[in-house]
Symmetry: C4
Subunit: 255 residues, 4 copies
């Protein structure tokens, strides 16, 4: 499993190789408060290979040799195994609990990378946008804020919306477009979010991310640069949306 | 276009060469939250050459070879081209959408550098100072706060005002001076801000910056040090102005 | 006392040796605001040796040679000395005032590492959860928030609870479990917290940490990784708990 | 003036030499938001020599060769010069406007170092503690908060008080002691603060710092370590004091 051939999948002198990028990006995400306490993570898919950091480890201290590599697509499940790997680390590291959720982004959006954060901006957004159905209208430029209890639509104009792409992998939104991010409820086991996340992605085909109540957010893109850029833009929007709400700004705009 | 001669414009062992400084400063601005999600940017003009970072890229990962170089002033527009370049990167990088706005700072203020941030402090300031005409008087030392709906004047005493220069390129303000920063409305295409930004700069000839509602701020100076210093001072003033407003401090001062 | 033999206890080329790790981790904790002003600290126990940083020094500038090494368990107290050391630094550094509190984590939980922070999130939590007995019910998934005046129990669902272990050294909590962190009152001398901390640890046998009112928090784990991870998770929970409380979110959930 | 002999005063391979320490500490203070926009600064006195950073420069980019060196005490003023220097940088750098204020800390407290920050926590504290005479009683452990209009006394128990020394240069305060920090009004020219700062230091002989309304704080100590430690402790106390006030915590305690 961790043969020399398998290890070659994660050894490269190219700093942009996924096995080198994932540790570097995780260190940066740690500084942003997105992956503290071993939470959060990132996967990168290059064609038929998926690179994923292990579960339950300090994300800012990951080494390339800690990376799991999986084939994409996965072969049909067999009675012997849940999941097939091209490479597993030798140490007793566990595969990421996010794996089935990352797979949603590949299967439903053909994404090349998916980022999961526990950002407090994302979590506070899921706590302040609680529904059942909440509407704010008459905002500048005719946009609206609409929130539902099990899935939420945030609508307010901000330059940062232009950094988000339709469905996460399409063309960029314009300043006048509406940004829609569904919110799903958390479950005790991260794997169990797979179905409700997929459901939200189907119901909101233009959504570039899925928020998980009291937990965090999943954001994807065509490649790691676009996934990272969109995660930054959405995190910015969650942060300023929370600030606006706490400052009573949206209520004023509702009048 | 990216000939050896053109490339020589961005290759230097001097860390203070604009092609080296722009990547370094962008990394620093990223840490401050000013240019996340590929937003924001900086240009440096040294006499007849203007150095600008490309559009839509991760600002904290720019390399000197990514820099565009343009002549200043630009030759008259021809039917063949909108803009003339001394150097374009070989990769398929797009020129900055901020270019016409940076040009305003050269043409109207003779600036040597202009910085554009998406700082949340700037954006929150544009959301809390909403007008139509709002006046706060009887503040300490007789200064006043005055805000209009399409352009705003912030007036409150703070030591950091002394770091801002009259018109951005003149002598430093004193502690007792009034700081005036106009706010213009955002547009779907960044280029379309050119005229309203120019209008605000003419209407407020002493302004060292222009805020853009729900978007960010443009700040200029005689050189990159002065542009950076003023951006820091203004960002500090936006941040503490927002804190004061949310703490009810300005309202109290209005009595 | 600081003989060559004793010095060998803190000299190693292994970056994961406790004498190298403690300075590195303290620099990182300083960046997080946990150990500014010489406050806070960390100890690591490897079998029968305990490594502790000195008291009253700038935690972000500690060198391996500043580390104290103590035997565990300590020999019975003699009339000549309060505490036995395997190594003391040559310079006039004082032993950590946290030593008896760190010892609680060894004696009562068999911990391998204990972290003490002055994080403002922890302190604000001790100020906002003030009791005497305060209950919030009907929260999502039936969890409850319960606070008592001299010891507090915080209960609200969050993904980050999964990063905390039962008693700090047991199995991980599930998303549906209740997180209990007792709060004890501060004393003028840090050493005098020993008994009330031990009492709280006995009264709350599942608690992974003890908060100290107007002071900070002590968090332990089986080793330094698990102690650090749990400190990050708890700090995250204190921070978002304070944000929720200030946003009126818990009050709403109480209805 | 900048002869080889004078330059030797700022050239050293010792990282703890004041000419090396000042640039390093200023970079660290910049990260903390204390000296952005060229504001703030630090001086270090070693016996009869005072090392000071220049005025109006980017504090995070200072080099050892930018440092001014002055004799302490200064010779009596002559008709030819205001101030005597042992070394001035060759470039056209201006001496620090803080010089007379730093001198207060030497003359009145025999300090070895003085730090000046524009920290927003300090400034917000000067805006929220506005007097005329404001008293909060019945706090935990019998401490009180007392604020006057032109000088303020902050009193609330916090572990971080133990990091502050009586008069800034004496023995450490205990957890039960009262922390007193006078607030003086700002003036257009920083030099003009000299007399009111000295007056406040005489009136509050135990104060370890002086706050300047809408401006920042001056903190001193026996050496740079103690000045830095106390600046961190006080900044922590200003920050959490502001948080407590905005959370309504002090008002509740007043009842």
């Amino acid at each position: 499993m961790a043969s020399a051939e398998a290890d070659a999948l994660v050894i490269s002198s190219d700093p942009l190789h996924p096995a080198n990028l994932i540790p570097e990006l995780c260190r940066s995400f740690y500084q942003l408060g997105w992956v503290t306490g071993t939470g959060g993570g990132i996967c990168i898919r290059t064609g038929d290979k998926v690179y994923i950091a292990p579960s339950g480890v300090q994300k800012e201290r990951i080494e390339p040799t800690h990376i799991f590599v999986l084939p994409y697509p996965q072969p049909p499940p067999s009675p012997h195994t849940d999941r097939v790997f091209l490479r597993r680390p030798t140490s007793n590291l566990k595969e990421s609990a996010c794996t089935p959720l990352f797979w949603n982004s590949f299967d439903l959006r053909n994404a090349g990378s998916c980022i999961h954060t526990h950002s407090q901006h994302a979590v506070m957004a899921t706590l302040l946008w609680t529904g059942p159905v909440f509407t704010i209208s008459h905002q500048v430029r005719g946009t609206r804020l609409l929130v539902m209890s099990t899935s939420a639509v945030l609508r307010f104009p901000s330059q940062m919306i232009k950094g988000v792409r339709i469905a996460g992998t399409g063309t960029a939104l314009s300043y006048l477009d509406t940004l829609e991010i569904p919110i799903i409820e958390n479950t005790p086991n991260e794997e169990d979010l797979k179905d409700s996340m997929a459901e939200a992605m189907v119901k909101y085909p233009n959504a570039a991310a899925v928020l998980v109540r009291r937990h965090g957010v999943y954001v994807w893109g065509n490649d790691w640069e676009k996934a990272k850029t969109q995660t930054e833009c959405l995190d910015y929007l969650f942060e300023i949306g929370v600030k606006m709400k706490l400052a009573g700004l949206l209520t004023v705009l509702n009048e």
